[in-house]
């Protein structure tokens, strides 16, 4: 069964958002997404300093057998990207909610986000 982390929020396009305190939000893709994509070999992330808009594409994730657009789950300025996953995209498969995080955003507005329960129910995943 595919895992969903209870403490995170989710977009319908399979991004997760980590909000602890008032700092920037961490963003990555879920295990549902990595399972569907297979082994990820290339990731294209927004640049630090650029602005992303909730619901719009801001990059892409490519696996051996498929490619998927990355949608910004929130709006705001990108303040950090995970260089480690650009060097080693397998980190996203191995630890999608941890070492495989993608970028951080200083949030100005949320997109429509789901709770872990809602996201898990919609995707046949478990908490």
């Amino acid at each position: 069964m595919i895992k969903v982390v209870p403490e995170l929020q989710y977009s319908a396009e399979h991004e997760w958002v980590s909000r602890d305190g008032g700092g920037p939000a961490g963003i990555g893709i879920t295990a549902v997404a990595t399972d569907a994509l297979g082994d990820i070999v290339y990731v294209d992330l927004p640049e630090v300093g650029s602005t992303v808009t909730a619901g719009e594409t801001c990059g892409e994730v490519e696996s051996t057998k498929s490619v998927s657009d990355l949608y910004a789950p929130v709006s705001g300025e990108v303040v950090a990207i995970n260089d480690a996953v650009i060097e080693d995209p397998a980190l996203i498969n191995n630890d999608p909610y941890g070492a495989g995080w993608l970028f951080k955003v200083a949030v100005t507005a949320d997109g429509p986000l789901l709770s872990a329960e809602e996201y898990a129910a919609a995707n046949g995943a478990e908490l």
Partner: protein, 371 residues
């Protein structure tokens, strides 16, 4: 799960190994067991175990078997020696490709013809129809035959662990595109040195009731040699690196052998008529408008099936298969492009979802194993 898709005799083995499944040619087949990259690399470095029981098996037997296949297929099948195999095509009257297939000559008057899963019924039907004026029997054995492949540099060593000592030399001396009867794990099987990965390897034909015993024996014997069960995802990336066409991608009813680079497979010099001859003679004389080429991506993004190939903003072709090559580390693709642009070294672009990325025409295959 689709109600119409079939399970192979090894479905329970795949489930127990944790496979994720995909529908392919009307069959529920393992897509991958763990990671398709790991499986791909295991086949290149050690060995992979594939269930290919979705493939068809059609036996053609009788005094006219060789002459019949010369008529039904585009190659000269009557000329191959007993124990040898030949890659060929079955075409329509118009010269379109119904399927690409391998035929094994098992005896003077007996061939095993192996079509692709999705085409097995069409091929069996076409062969039966074309057999009317020949003294042959066409027997579609697909539903009762399983096919298991062991592919990779360690494949021979794995087979040697499972055959009686007296047959070791039969395995060692078996040439590429040849087949022999041996006993593997106590089962009498047809062992062929063929494959679809670009590596050394074997394909083993057995009746369905023996498939699980053979699979388990190969898995047990192979594991110490680095063998892993391997799914269709890595089969596709392996055959793409090896420049091998996939029916439905590179080959179709709308494609003729000359466009696909398979002209040498068509034996126009053979005596007598064969299905598609007149059309193929015309197509050869005219030359194809587009040709199948290999493309190497100069960036990191991969081209995918159906993406347009561009030159200076004009569409000059279409990608048929594409992926990031796990062995080579750059994107590879096959594409049909205007014949004038098919020379290796030609700089083209592929429209990757709205952005033109640079690709270069390169010779096929992309990957060749070290001898």
């Amino acid at each position: 799960m689709s109600e119409t898709s079939s399970h192979t005799a090894l479905y329970d083995q795949h489930r127990a190994l944790g496979a994720s499944f995909t529908d392919f040619g009307g069959w529920q087949m393992p897509l991958k067991y763990s990671s398709e990259l790991l499986e791909h690399k295991a086949v290149r470095a050690a060995a992979g175990l594939f269930d290919l029981s979705h493939m068809g098996e059609v036996e053609v037997s009788g005094p006219d078997a060789g002459a019949f296949l010369d008529y039904a297929l585009v190659g000269r099948l009557s000329a191959i020696a007993v124990g040898k195999a030949k890659y060929s095509l079955i075409c329509t009257d118009d010269g379109g490709i119904i399927d690409d297939l391998i035929s094994y000559r098992r005896a003077e008057d007996n061939y095993l013809v192996v079509p692709n899963a999705g085409n097995a019924k069409a091929v069996a039907a076409a062969l039966a129809e074309r057999a009317a004026d020949f003294d042959v029997t066409v027997d579609d054995q697909s539903s009762r035959t399983s096919l298991i492949a062991v592919q990779g540099p360690h494949a021979e060593q794995i087979l040697l662990d499972l055959v009686p000592a007296g047959q070791a030399d039969d395995v060692r001396s078996l040439k590429y595109y040849a087949a022999t009867e041996v006993t593997v794990a106590g089962l009498d099987i047809l062992l062929a040195r063929t494959g679809y990965t670009g590596e050394d390897g074997f394909e083993l034909y057995v009746p369905n009731e023996s498939a699980a015993v053979l699979w388990n024996a190969l898995l047990r014997a192979g594991t110490p040699h680095g063998l892993v069960p391997a799914g269709l995802a890595c089969r596709d990336s392996l055959r793409l690196e090896a420049g091998m066409p996939l029916y439905g991608n590179e080959l179709s009813l709308g494609v003729d052998p000359y466009a696909a680079g398979l002209g040498p497979v068509v034996a126009l010099s053979k005596e007598g008529d064969f299905v598609g001859r007149a059309a193929l003679e015309r197509k050869k004389a005219a030359g194809p408008a587009r040709k199948l080429v290999g493309l190497q991506g100069l960036g990191r993004r991969a081209a995918r099936s159906h993406y347009p190939v561009l030159q200076d903003g004009q569409t000059v072709g279409e990608v048929t298969s594409g992926a990031p090559s796990p062995s080579l580390g750059y994107p590879v693709a096959m594409a049909y492009v205007d014949a004038a642009l098919a020379e290796p070294g030609t700089e083209l672009q592929v429209d990757l979802r709205g952005k033109a990325e640079p690709f270069r025409v390169v010779p096929l295959p992309f990957y060749k194993r070290a001898k």
